[in-house]
Each structure stands twice: as structure tokens, then as C-alpha cells.
Point group: C2
Chain length 197, copies 2
DNA sequence: CGGGTAAGTCAACATGCATTGACATAAGGA
DNA sequence: TCCTTATGTCAATGCATGTTGACTTACCCG
């Protein structure tokens, strides 16, 4: 795997012979590798090299490649809390972000790619759906306010995802007049959903 | 591969020893298989079995697995013309569809899964982006009218994609009050973009 | 009708993969 | 310090895959 670079053991903490630490290191490496290369194109050897560990530890600690993947998926889905977004700025911030280019170095981009990969697999899609419900839709609904229905969070999430995908396949950032028009329209669409004025 | 069933040679036409026909059959099988299982999880033996052909023909006819994939991708992207959608009904039709369940038997669902798979791969994403521009954004822009900017088509496409993904990870159809509210809101959002009243 | 060529079949190969088990070694308490 | 156990290392195995080449056979033109 050239896409992850050849750096090995970057994530490894100084302590040696610590099972919990190496486990965590491997899991972190797996999250990155799976996000960039996807499940099948990522070999356990790649992950082990990135983590600076040995391949044989992975089947032992995670029960196999699939176990590692599902655990990485769960760990990825659980965010470090939704940011306290300013409601009046939220839509414009999102619109500006979507008008830019997808940065593969941004861990959020990798996370999203990871989740999108999971969405396309029939086996992981249900797991993802349940997790999205718990960790994503519920917080958004709370953020939107008690009067908001489940459907409102759903619509917002869908639109958000759609723009992320569009940015992904677009590749480059928007420029000039198209950018300003795009930002305006995206802002309007999101405001229409979250009910800001 | 169990997911595609064990039926072999279903797509095969009666004529034998016809290179063009077998090539087309293999390509059709590849489009299906790639959409359902993704690039890596689909083996050439699976495709050959589905097409009722021999594995060795694929490297010979398509130059390898990658060649087959890109050709299947191009063939998938090119639709048999956009339908002449009724502008006044478009948003509601889409909303109703999105509220339903994703049907894997529907070839459009498979096509979308295929494209989504392609979007997550760094190698195929640019190819997909260019194709989406030509075959998708341009027609939508024409449909929206000359006064509409490129960004309007882009936003519509993004929202459309987002709802498709949401439906995919949701799995089941929406029911009851949430469904009606969802349909209403989706209709409003789309109308806001396409400018219908 | 017969031969030449295209089309299909089959077996084999090289490769990369996940996984397993045996072995070495560091860590920490008695 | 020594012994036990957890932890890391290494080599080997079995399997599935893409690809190649040699072989067989159907088709078609003369």
C-alpha cells in the first residue's frame, strides 16, 4: 500500500509490551486504513505495518479481520460529541465547506469515506443504519428542538450526506460565480430545513 | 458468492460461438455483480458463472478485471436518456420513492450502489466525476431551464444522492406520521431548488 | 465437403491473503 | 534473583484469486 505512506509505528506509544496500548494502536491504524482504502483493499499486513505491530496480533486481539472492521466501524461512528453549532452560522459554514475540495488529510473526510464504504455493503449497512439512528439522528433532533420530528433530522442528515458525496466526486473546489451561487443556494436549502431565518 | 444466487447462464442468448454476444453477456453480468458486491468482493469466476461463460474469456475480451470494471462503469453511467419528468409532479414522486424501502431487485438501486462504490475509490472517483458532469448535470441543467446555473443542477444532484444514501442505510420504509411528514418536507426542499410552485 | 480460423474450454501457475501454531522474551511478583 | 505468565515475533499453511498458455471444437468460406 503506497497510499498510506511507508511510515511505520508512528502511532505507537513508548511503552512496550502493553496489550491494551497495542490494541488501541492497531484499532486506530485500522480506522485510518479502512477509511482510505476500504475493507478489501486493506490487508492486515498494511494495518500492522502502519501500527508498527505484527500481523498475527490482529486475529488474536480482534478475532479476525471482520471483527476488527466492525469494531473500527463502531469506534468511528461514535463521535466525540456533536459540536455546539451556532444555529445562525451553521448553514453558511456547511455551505462554505461543501464548496471547497475534499481533503483526504482531514480525518473527517476519511471518516465519511469509511462510513460510505460501509453503506454500500449489504452486511454492514444495517449496522450503520442503527448506529446512525442512535448517534446521529437523535442528537440532531435534540439540536433542532423538541418540536422537530424525526423526519426533520432525517432530511437534514440526508442533505448533509448528499453534499458530502457531491464534493467527493467533484474533487476540486468550486470557483468564482458558481461558488458564490452554490453557497447561497446550499445555505438557503439548509436554513429551510433547520428553520433558521 | 451466495448473494447473486446460483443461477448460471440466465442472461445467455441462444446463439453460440458469438464473440460479441458473449462479450455483451459478460458485461451485463459484471454490471450486476459489481453493483451488488463491489469491485473487490466480486471475482471473475463469479461474473463468468453468472454469465454462463468461462473465466478465461474476461482477461481476453476486456484486458483484465480493471478493464472490465471501467467499461461496466461507463456503460452504467450512460443512461437511456433522462425521463421527461413532469415538473409539477417531480418532487412528490421523488419524495414518495425516498420514503419507501430500497429494493435490491430494482436495477436502479443496483446502479446507484455501483456508482456509490465507485465514488469511494480514489482511482474511479475522478472518472465518475467527469461522467456525472457530462451525463447528469448537463441534462438536469437543461431540464431546469437555460436561466439556471450549473450550481442549481449540482445542488439538486447532491440532494438527490443524499436521499438515496439515506434510504439505503435506513433499509426499511417509513410508516405512519413520520412518512407523511418526511414526504412533505422532501417535496418542499426539492421544489425550493427546482423552482416549482 | 474439407480445411482454416475464430471461439470456447481446461488445467496450471504465481501471488497475496488471513489465519494458525510454535517459539522467544520481557515484565513483575515471590 | 528466579519463575510464571502475558506479550510479541516468526515461519508455515491453506485458500482464493487473476492471468496465461495449450488444447479442443464449432463455424464459415472456398
Amino acid at each position: 500500500m503506497t497510499e498510506l505512506g511507508e511510515a511505520a509505528g508512528v502511532l505507537a506509544p513508548p511503552r512496550r509490551r502493553d496489550a491494551a496500548a497495542t490494541r488501541a494502536t492497531i484499532l486506530e491504524a485500522a480506522k485510518t486504513a479502512f477509511a482510505v482504502t476500504g475493507y478489501d483493499r486493506t490487508s492486515l499486513r498494511d494495518i500492522a505495518a502502519l501500527a508498527g505491530s505484527d500481523v498475527a496480533l490482529i486475529p488474536r486481539y480482534f478475532g479476525g479481520k471482520e471483527g476488527l472492521f466492525t469494531e473500527a466501524l463502531k469506534a468511528t461512528i461514535a463521535p466525540d460529541r456533536l459540536r455546539d453549532w451556532d444555529r445562525s452560522r451553521f448553514s453558511r459554514d456547511v455551505a462554505e465547506m461543501m464548496a471547497g475540495a475534499a481533503d483526504i488529510a482531514d480525518p473527517r473526510t476519511r471518516t465519511f469515506q469509511f462510513l460510505l464504504q460501509a453503506a454500500t455493503s449489504p452486511t454492514t449497512a444495517p449496522l450503520l443504519g442503527q448506529a446512525v439512528q442512535e448517534r446521529f439522528l437523535a442528537p440532531i433532533r435534540d439540536w433542532l428542538g423538541d418540536e422537530a420530528g424525526q423526519e426533520r433530522a432525517r432530511v437534514l442528515a440526508a442533505i448533509y450526506i448528499g453534499f458530502l458525496v457531491e464534493r467527493l466526486i467533484r474533487g476540486a473546489a468550486l470557483e468564482g460565480a458558481e461558488r458564490t451561487a452554490f453557497v447561497e443556494r446550499v445555505t438557503a436549502v439548509i436554513d429551510g430545513v433547520i428553520g433558521a431565518e
